[in-house]
Amino acid sequence: MALQIRQASVEFPAVDGRAPVEALRKIELSIEPGDFTVALGASGCGKSTLLNLIAGFLSPSSGAILLDGAPVNGPGADRSVVFQKHALLPWLNVRDNVAFGLKLQGSSKAERYAVAEKFIALLGLSGFETSPVYSLSGGMQQRVGIARALTCDPKLLLMDEPLGALDALTRERAQELILKIWSETEKSVFFITHSVEEALFMGTKLVVMSPRPGRIAHMFDLPFSRRFCDGQSARSIKASGDFIALREKVLAIIFADEEEAA
């Protein structure tokens, strides 16, 4: 599934006499099948707005969002979202939360529990199937949120800072897990993060965004996630010279943005 964003702008209208906010200006981006696109940037640069645009929760003020050539006009099961704050349903237990998407799509109980079981195990949640989600730690809740989006088997997975709440160790394992799932299923992923290292390690395409108005400032093609999928270890990738060089370059761009804004 190919996604094209053509000159898309988003402007939030003026409220209470304050000036209208230009959240995104003329975004031009395409996501090809199998792409792992990472959006990186300072707070307020419109990363989440861009994700909402792709998900269909927002419409562009001008420009177009095209999915395989057809304009997006609303959310759909081909683009599952993992939220910053997990957004689980507290009245369902872990298994029913993970199987929720399949239930909406009308698959039978046995069928959806079997799929849910697979992803529960994949995300290291085995043994917690019948636990209420509110009794889990923040990191586990976030993993339930990821498992829930994966069970829907979307062609494009939209992830809004999904790993921000995880501790360092779990976070690295979750990064590797997401890459593994991505390379096995050849899904496209659109991934938002604050962490430069995470962005470089995971993406095949890096989109660096700048704030006020939100726009794409730089784009890089990245080789590191392919190298990981070909068997190089995460630690040796992150310690390699080209990784560090690019990291410093991207950091410099972001710091310059922050200083300009301050």
Binding site: A87, L89, W91, F100, L104, L158
Partner: protein, 304 residues
């Protein structure tokens, strides 16, 4: 707590050991007590407002109340016409239970009243909850039903009771309808605001998994609204019991409200108080049931 001014504190702390900043320390530690939570016991979370058991204090309050009541009547400080003794109330209860009141047994009075209140309550929930949800979901339906509900809601039922009688006669219809109206508004408005309980992320998540509008309603909005609907039902039934006496003022020959009103006309204070206690007991019992239902069906309330 009153904040003591230096002069007051000086006189208050005359007997206190004369530390240089004695009164300051005293006031300071009192203030500390007020602004800082006490340390936690194992299994508690620091700083949760109002945390702790209340059952002992509640029972103590009731016992003290009964003791004062008993003492005041036993010492003859107040005439039994105004405040009969607790024993007299209990005797009246046994008396009405065995011999009835105006030819009708206490159980029948209670049964008739309960049937009116719970009948009206069930009707109000059947109509009010779906209508409230629809009002929350649709600006059209909200636009249509908001004005009439908000218009009649603050009017005391006693004020439109005469209208009910003119329109629907003096039979059961006007009685049940009066109670229905008093329960309906809080239940419908509770359901309406309950629609807003679901987080937009939860709704968006469901849509991004391919949910239809109806599925979002059924699987996300309705369950999130459930705690607020249950609370609204508890508030609603309270209004129902409040309206009962008004409803039974007119041409009733049975019912707890009728019993209380008739007894008051004959200055049978013991029966009046006994009737009030029976009404309170039934209402409280039902509230206990509702709380058990809340614990059973929305154990996640306020947890996420």
């Amino acid at each position: 707590m009153s904040i003591a001014r230096p002069n007051d504190a000086e006189t208050q702390s005359k007997d206190a050991p004369a530390a240089p900043t004695g009164w300051r320390a005293a006031v300071g530690s009192g203030f500390q007590q007020l602004v800082r939570s006490r340390p936690t016991k194992p299994g508690e979370t620091y700083g949760v407002p109002g945390q702790g058991e209340t059952i002992t204090l509640s029972i103590l309050t009731i016992l003290v109340f009964l003791a004062v009541w008993w003492a005041v009547t036993a010492l003859g400080l107040v005439k039994p016409l105004f405040v009969p003794s607790p024993q007299a109330i209990f005797q009246k209860f046994v008396d009405v239970l065995t011999n009835g009141f105006t030819g009708t047994s206490l159980l029948e009075h209670a049964g008739i009243s309960a049937a009116r209140v719970f009948g009206a309550f069930v009707l109000a929930c059947i109509v009010g909850v779906p209508l409230g949800l629809a009002m929350g979901m649709s600006p059209t339906i909200r636009g249509i039903f908001d004005p009439p509900i908000e218009f009649y809601r603050p009017i005391p039922p006693l004020a439109y009771l005469p209208l009910m009688i003119i329109w629907f006669g003096i039979g059961e219809t006007s009685k049940v309808l009066l109670i229905f109206l008093s329960v309906f508004a809080p239940v419908a408005l509770g359901a309406k605001s309950g629609v807003r309980s679901a987080a937009i992320e939860q709704i968006h998540a469901a849509y991004s998994f391919g949910a239809s509008r109806w599925q979002v309603m059924r699987h996300v909005i309705l369950p999130s609204a459930l705690p607020e609907i249950l609370t609204a039902m508890r508030i609603g039934i309270g209004f129902g019991w409040t309206t009962l006496v008004a409803a039974e003022m007119v041409a009733a020959t049975k019912g707890l409200g009728y019993m209380v009103l008739t007894a008051s006309q004959f200055l049978q204070t013991a029966t009046v108080i006994m009737g009030i206690i029976v009404i309170a007991a039934i209402a409280y019992g039902f509230d206990m049931v509702m709380r058990a239902i809340e614990r059973r069906f929305v154990p996640w309330k306020g947890r996420m």
